[in-house]
């Protein structure tokens, strides 16, 4: 993914689809994290909670699950293989 940031908004270009997306900082934070490596919704929620200084009033897990669903619909992410140990 290619990123540009102006003020409080992020523009993301997905070279595989050729689509451009516009995200607020919270959504961008989650997508950036997933761009580095795979993670579960719980992991993402915990990390976002830390980034927000544990001051989030909204239901982070629900918010992140919705975001992840939208990223999936947009073709920005795909399910990672389950690590069975």
């Amino acid at each position: 993914l290619l990123w540009r940031r102006w003020d409080q908004e992020f523009v993301v270009f997905d070279p595989r689809s050729g689509d451009i997306h516009l995200f607020d900082p919270l959504a961008a934070e989650v997508l950036r994290r997933l761009d580095v490596s795979s993670a579960t919704v719980d992991e993402l929620s915990r990390e976002l909670d830390v980034s927000l200084g544990h001051e989030a009033e909204l239901d982070l897990a629900q918010y992140v699950a919705k975001l992840v669903g939208e990223f999936d619909k947009l073709g920005l992410i795909e399910p990672a293989s389950v690590d069975v140990r």
Partner: protein
């Protein structure tokens, strides 16, 4: 025509005179390479006399349905536009008018009806250099704008507005009942044609919107959203992939970005000229159409 050479063949006897009027300052070339081989022909035989039509050709193939003979010149201009928008992929192509003064260009993106050609013609009549009333051609590697000055296409009410603003402007014949209504082409200024090899830097991206009766309003537009809107107005950014995205980003990065709503051409021209003469590019909404610095 700017970076392109167009070879035109036609069997329309009325065409040379019109071209001599509107393309008076363009160079004619006899035998060099041509980017586009186009034709504009009336059908042969009796068909020529029954509801006379004219057809545009590229490489001897007609990409569109024929139009009434009275639409010959608009069809030629639209056909050349189509050639550029579908084939000149060495550039990032944005549907926008572009004018320049003192090395700084205003890019006016917009779909048909947004008023970009009218504003473009108005600014040109006030001394701005015409780069194009139809395309911003952006070099992907450095974001510079490549001029392609050609006759400016004016429609319906815009024709009278520009004639009132600049009675000395040279206008071509009036083509009535085209699918865009009445269309007239304005000859580009000689200086714009002679400086067609001189590239320009974008300094402002302004999305025009004509709304009858509305006061003029210039509103700062976020760069992130400007990039998304420019992409929507681009013919080929996704074809260029990452280079297209980089070129769009460069264009946005170097420009101050605005929405311009107006119901009066003179008010809109005044606001754009104030914007261009401001020492520091203006960034914020102004209530009465005056420009304030950031």
């Amino acid at each position: 025509m700017g970076p392109f050479v167009v070879r035109l063949g036609s069997n329309l006897p009325e065409l040379p005179e019109v071209l001599r009027l509107l393309y008076a300052d363009f160079q004619c070339s006899g035998d060099e390479f041509a980017d586009f081989h186009v034709g504009l022909n009336a059908p042969a035989g009796l068909r020529r006399w029954w509801r006379p039509k004219v057809q545009f050709f590229l490489d001897n193939r007609p990409p569109f349905e024929p139009l009434p003979r009275t639409s010959a010149l608009p069809l030629l201009e639209w056909g050349i536009n189509w050639c550029v928008s579908t084939r000149a992929n060495q550039y990032l192509i944005i549907h926008a008018a572009v004018v320049e003064r003192n090395g700084r260009a205003i890019v006016l993106p917009g779909q048909p009806g947004a008023g970009k050609s009218t504003l473009c013609a108005g600014l040109v009549c006030r001394g701005w250099r015409l780069l194009s009333d139809e395309f911003a051609l952006v070099r992907p590697d450095d974001g510079r704008l490549v001029p392609m000055p050609r006759p400016i296409s004016l429609k319906e009410n815009s024709i009278t507005l520009i004639q009132q603003l600049a009675p000395e402007a040279v206008m071509g014949p009036s083509s009535r009942d085209t699918w865009k209504g009445t269309v007239v082409h304005m000859r580009p200024p000689s200086e714009s044609v002679s400086r067609a090899a001189e590239l320009a830097h974008a300094s402002w991206i302004v999305f025009p919107g004509f709304q009858a009766g509305e006061p003029v309003r210039l509103t700062s537009h976020p760069r992130s959203r400007t990039l998304v809107r420019l992409a929507r107005n681009s013919f080929n950014w996704n074809l260029l992939g990452a280079r297209g995205f980089a070129a769009l980003s460069m264009l946005v990065e170097q420009s101050a970005c605005y929405d311009l709503t107006h119901g009066d051409l003179n008010d809109a021209l005044r606001v754009l000229e104030e914007l261009a003469t401001a020492e520091v590019p203006a960034r914020f909404e102004t209530s009465a159409g005056r420009v304030s610095g950031a």
